[in-house]
């Protein structure tokens, strides 16, 4: 019974990690996607290298790089902060791909019609392209949420006291590894499920009437890891 409180505390830390790094990944990711679609060639090349880097290197290695790198450069970020940054940048590379795909799947006539009305480029992106892209991006983004939530467990390795580490502390006291880890697994499972349900609700709420078919198509690729 005394184990419930630390598990709750760990769950909250895990959620904080998840939300913070998703937010960072979202902000940078959309920006990168726009750069890739509308930017000049050198910008596209730089973004490609950035993506390649963060997608090829394992999350765990990135965590260590940011954690030890910050002290190497005299910044000494806390484990929590270096985890948020490492995984946040990593997520931005994946989210950039999600949003790029969504933007590119929008008919180019939309941009042309917007410009023909006299909108400036950034106005067209803000009022016409992004609202449509974000709707299309929800199903793959929900996938990214699940991955990121699970990957926060790796912050355990740089000493963040999140759900798995709280579990470890309990096991040291109770010698019940199976019970504790199964419980933790269930917590993750519920969080994944609830998050996906929430996003599916959002998707439905934002759906454009008459456009359900297109959304169904996007969904059929949902099992990608």
């Amino acid at each position: 019974m005394t184990s419930i409180f630390p598990l709750l505390r760990g769950t909250i830390t895990t959620l904080e990690l998840t939300i913070l790094l998703l937010a960072i990944g979202l902000a940078i990711g959309i920006f990168l996607a726009l750069g890739q679609v509308y930017g000049p060639l050198p910008v596209v090349a730089v973004i490609n290298i950035y993506e390649r880097f963060f997608r090829s290197i394992p999350a765990l290695v990135l965590l260590f790089l940011f954690f030890f790198g910050s002290s190497y450069f005299g910044l000494s970020l806390s484990p929590f902060l270096s985890a948020v940054l490492a995984l946040g940048f990593r997520s931005s590379a994946y989210q950039s791909q999600i949003f790029r795909g969504a933007i590119q799947s929008i008919d180019e006539g939309q941009m042309m019609a917007a410009r023909a009305l006299g909108m400036k480029g950034f106005q067209a992106i803000k009022c016409i392209i992004l609202p449509q892209a974000i709707r299309l991006a929800i199903p793959p983004w929900s996938n990214e949420y699940s991955s990121v939530l699970k990957d926060t467990s790796l912050a355990y390795a740089v000493g963040v006291v999140e759900l798995v580490r709280e579990g470890r502390y309990i096991i040291v006291r109770t010698f019940e590894p199976m019970l504790v880890y199964i419980t933790i697994a269930l917590v993750y499972f519920v969080l994944t499920y609830a998050g996906n349900k929430l996003l599916a609700f959002l998707e439905k709420k934002l759906a454009v009437p008459g456009y359900e078919l297109k959304l169904k198509e996007a969904k059929s690729t949902k099992y990608e890891r």
């Binding site: 019609a113 909108m119 008459g210």
Partner: protein, 255 residues
């Protein structure tokens, strides 16, 4: 005739994509209230020409004047210019995430910066003009092709343009939906709107247009009033092309 002002004048427009020379020196002018119809085989650069007129494509060479102001000048604000040139596309290009009303309203609110209630009133008036005020709250995917095209005409009209460009506005429509769009366009032409229309609807051309321009291989081959061009085409290529489209579209005149 001559007392009317020239709204649009284009001179010696050239445009190439890579090695392919699409436009090789096009010139014509359009007076206030005139409707000009551009015809020509697929791939001759009709769409490219229209995009050169409102600056969506930058011509390699040549000049465009709108209402006496040269808009091919590099220091002209093209976004400002496009506000006064409406454009209607072959595949409508209605903004898919916005209702019919919002599609018409968005240019007024975001580009013209009109207050929301004023913009709404105007948007509804425009939808009324194309006979769709009852469909204001439906999304594009809930409208038929003909209805979508009428909304897109309302969207262009709402900006109070000096000129509207139509790029094959009916060629993506099922035959039974073409009539309603042509009807709206005809009313527009008769109410004095200045229009440049790429279309192979000969009935429409006969009944409302002032001049037909036949474009082939990047040049103006022949131009003239519809009855002259249809009945006594001087150029062999014009004759052959007119034969071909009358087979395709029929010579039925009014639809």
């Amino acid at each position: 005739m001559s007392d009317k002002t020239i709204i649009l004048k284009i001179e010696d427009i050239h445009k190439s994509y890579g090695k392919e020379k699409v436009l090789k020196g096009i010139s014509f002018s359009v007076k206030e209230g005139e409707t000009k119809v551009i015809i020509g085989p697929s791939g001759t650069g009709k769409s490219t020409l229209l995009r050169c007129i409102n600056g969506l494509t930058k011509p390699d060479k040549g000049h465009v004047w709108l209402d006496g102001v040269e808009i091919t000048n590099s220091n002209v604000n093209l976004d400002r210019v496009r506000q006064s040139i409406g454009m209607v596309f072959q595949n409508f290009n209605l903004f898919t995430h916005l209702t019919a009303l919002d599609n018409v309203r968005i240019g007024l609110v975001k580009v013209k910066k009109l207050p929301r209630d004023v913009a709404t009133e105007k948007a509804i008036a425009m939808l009324k003009k194309v006979g769709l005020e009852k469909k204001a709250h439906l999304y594009p995917a809930q409208l038929s092709g003909g209805q979508q095209q009428r909304v897109s005409i309302a969207r262009a009209l709402a900006m109070d343009p000096k000129l509207i460009l139509f790029d094959e506005p009916t060629s993506a429509l099922d035959p039974e939906l073409i009539g309603e769009v042509l009807y709206v366009m005809k009313n527009l032409a008769e109410s004095g709107m200045t229009m440049v229309v790429v279309s192979h609807e000969m009935g429409f051309a006969r009944s409302v247009c002032d001049e037909i321009i036949f474009l082939d291989k990047g040049v103006v081959v022949e131009q003239g009033p519809p009855d002259v061009l249809f009945n006594h085409p001087r150029n062999k290529r014009t004759r052959e092309f007119l034969c071909k489209i009358s087979e395709l579209y029929g010579e039925s005149g009014e639809r």
